[in-house]
Symmetry: C2
Subunit: 506 residues, 2 copies
Amino acid sequence: MNSIINKKIEDPLFQTVLTIMSDISDLRRINALLGWDQETYMPDGSWEARAKQSQTLEILEHKLFINDDTKKLVDKIKNNKAERSSHHQRMLEIFVKDYEKNAKIPTSFVENYSIAKSKANESWKKARKKGEFNLFEKDLDNLIELTIQKTNHLGYEKNPYNALLNEYEEGANYDSISEIFSNLKTETIRLSKKYISKENFQLPNADKFNLSKKKQLKLCKEIAKALCFDFFNGRLDESHHPFTTSFSKYDVRITTRFDTKDIFNALYSTIHEVGHGLYEQGIDNSLYNTFAEEGTSLGIHESQSLIWENNICRSLEFWVWAMPLLRKYFPSEFSEVSEMDMYKVCNQVSYSFIRTESDELTYNLHIILRFEIENELINRKLKTKDIPERWNELFKEMTGLTIENNNNGCLQDIHWSFGGFGYFPTYSLGKLYAASLMKQMEIEFDVWQNVKNGEFMTLRTWLRNNIHQWGRLKTPKQIIQNVANKNLNSIDFVSYLEDKLDKIYS
Amino acid sequence: MNSIINKKIEDPLFQTVLTIMSDISDLRRINALLGWDQETYMPDGSWEARAKQSQTLEILEHKLFINDDTKKLVDKIKNNKAERSSHHQRMLEIFVKDYEKNAKIPTSFVENYSIAKSKANESWKKARKKGEFNLFEKDLDNLIELTIQKTNHLGYEKNPYNALLNEYEEGANYDSISEIFSNLKTETIRLSKKYISKENFQLPNADKFNLSKKKQLKLCKEIAKALCFDFFNGRLDESHHPFTTSFSKYDVRITTRFDTKDIFNALYSTIHEVGHGLYEQGIDNSLYNTFAEEGTSLGIHESQSLIWENNICRSLEFWVWAMPLLRKYFPSEFSEVSEMDMYKVCNQVSYSFIRTESDELTYNLHIILRFEIENELINRKLKTKDIPERWNELFKEMTGLTIENNNNGCLQDIHWSFGGFGYFPTYSLGKLYAASLMKQMEIEFDVWQNVKNGEFMTLRTWLRNNIHQWGRLKTPKQIIQNVANKNLNSIDFVSYLEDKLDKIYS
């Protein structure tokens, strides 16, 4: 493959921008390593010192980027009319865009925000240990206050929440997402009613499972490898909440978690993160250490994890391929279990307290709940101390279930503890993008024959060519239009899922 | 314990220095994390990107420290005659000293040196895989050339090697170490002849050992814990070459390695690094994130690892305590082995190719060899390409043994690959310091009763009070004079070792 970007051309302005981006990228990626270490191997006694280190890096990064020299450079770029390839032009646009966004945030704010995030993250962990929201409340409240300040720094139209949505999904706003989510909610409720009380699929003897963590890890590594995750440029570790982080496209780290009673937990967590990891590893080499060396939006990123987790690997064809592997590691537990059993159980529709453990369909209810709570918090319509009550009320309204432990409710996710307000909606956007992309892939080649044979490279290559390699060089909108010739919609998702579930529940 | 340093006093100059030290320390510690990750968990495909990240940090740290503002501050400190406590005064002295040393190194040199170290480290690893020195030669030669340039930047008296020795041991120079080493060499050769052919101690059935790595790790962790290594503020992992690194006194990481045939390898590697780790963890809280939050010299640091590895844990009393533990993890292998067997085998005098596997006595020959080769390299009396020949020649001269694989010779140590010329001599200095400190500890309380009972906290407390807590606030010379009322000498070491070996070989 030729390089997307020719870095060695004669273009002094472009060269200067590349150099600055490279240093800034280094600091960002180093901070990502600090974060990965904190979640995986860091001893508990170090969190204050680590928070300080991370803060020092953030401040330095901010100073290195936001200063008079960069401002002059940005002005120069804006006035420069030299002819450039569209990719070079886009790279300069990204640089200017990121500068202008960051320039709105004062350094003093960056300092406070950084330390507040670390504190909230640490107290979220403590709160989770005891299931007590009040251990998290004070630090969370402080973080929400700072987040509201941030929306004022960034600026917004109509709703301060829009400023946050935009951080993760370019061009997103509360009203348009609300409209899509409204349809999605209606359809989700319709389909939930259709399937939920129908049949309760279970694996034989699952209540007696005691699946060794060590073997689960080996199985997960073997599957990750088969799905083309590159361990020469990546790792798989354990953490409480699975995540993907990248210290460059040459070092992409994913994590998973284990439940000795439930193989699906580790398996689909791993596959999900593999999907993210493949995106990061698939970015074109020539984008290394530029601001384009990342996913173009969280929604598109999520589509890449979900397309593997749900569309590809919750298929009967996947289990035809994967069953012998599962039996290799756990012969006694799975010798009596068929591909069809696995297929049915992993697609079971049922209400779950935990977002990450819920099925493809009802998952969206979890997102819509968070979306509404976030909007209320950022608009000061809901007080931090009232989050548990509001959460439990909305959850009951949607599912009829009563939450009795906050670990099953508002303490379950790490996101708010690092200030990730506006992040959750992208999970559902990812589902919608994934369905449209998958539909297109099925038109272009025989996906299911490849899956059945474990020939995942064909799928990865299609995704790499159409999505991964471009990093941020294409916008989310360009991706979905170029690949599938359509816009974001919920129709492809609903019809894909109804087709599958009809087969399973018939 | 009261704080050694009162950080909250009214002293604006001191406050400014504290702030600068804190930011610089953060960057240094972050770079240490990058290094730890590289040796433990980093995927192989990432080394170039990691080298770039580490280089970016080093350059930033240099710029943050060495600039006109710091220069003015240093001038101000030198002209400031305000009355201060001796500790505050010493802190300012350390700051000025470090500034002046770093100011001598141009930024352009820092860049080249940093990248050269990463390259050399990577090619050393490749060379080791095949035992081929020529895979390492080019990058090593480049690094030596830069190291010679560095001695010119730093300045020196008489011998450029002195500039390097001084980096690790304040006040050290070739002539004075050479004199001590000359006595040490004579005594080592005398004692080697006395014991080496006498008796060959062996553990029963050791040739059939296949000691599980996992169990060894558990055993090592239990012993580290018993020796008071604090896992709330530390970790133990595996790496090719065991080392200790610290990201603050609250996060101290040690590594070890495993040999399924030989329990001593993992055990004494672990204990050695625990000794280093206890030093770092024992530094007073009030020195956190200052330039005094580290060992006062490599020689003293090494004395703290060696006092545990050799003086304390190669005693019969240690094995009286440790034997039940060893039998807990490896009942079949060690049920027939007595404390006395372990004591004899772990003190066996015999020539070894590998420095880290050699006994307390002949170890010094390894150091004297490296000391002489380094001096020749830095004075351009020896060419890089001739290192293997010169190494093998010196080794044969001292031991009579022929090296046939460079992994048993000049490729065995990681040190040169990260530019650590002048580092090796501190290992033997550490032995000499340790012997004098141990002698004093034995005068002050009944060390051996405590060891027999596994009451290691008493020993650690003595070491913490006398050495650890001070960090760099006391010089090496002050430490040894305050604690033992004497100067560095080889007499204590030789008499300690001859006493022990006479008992064993009688």
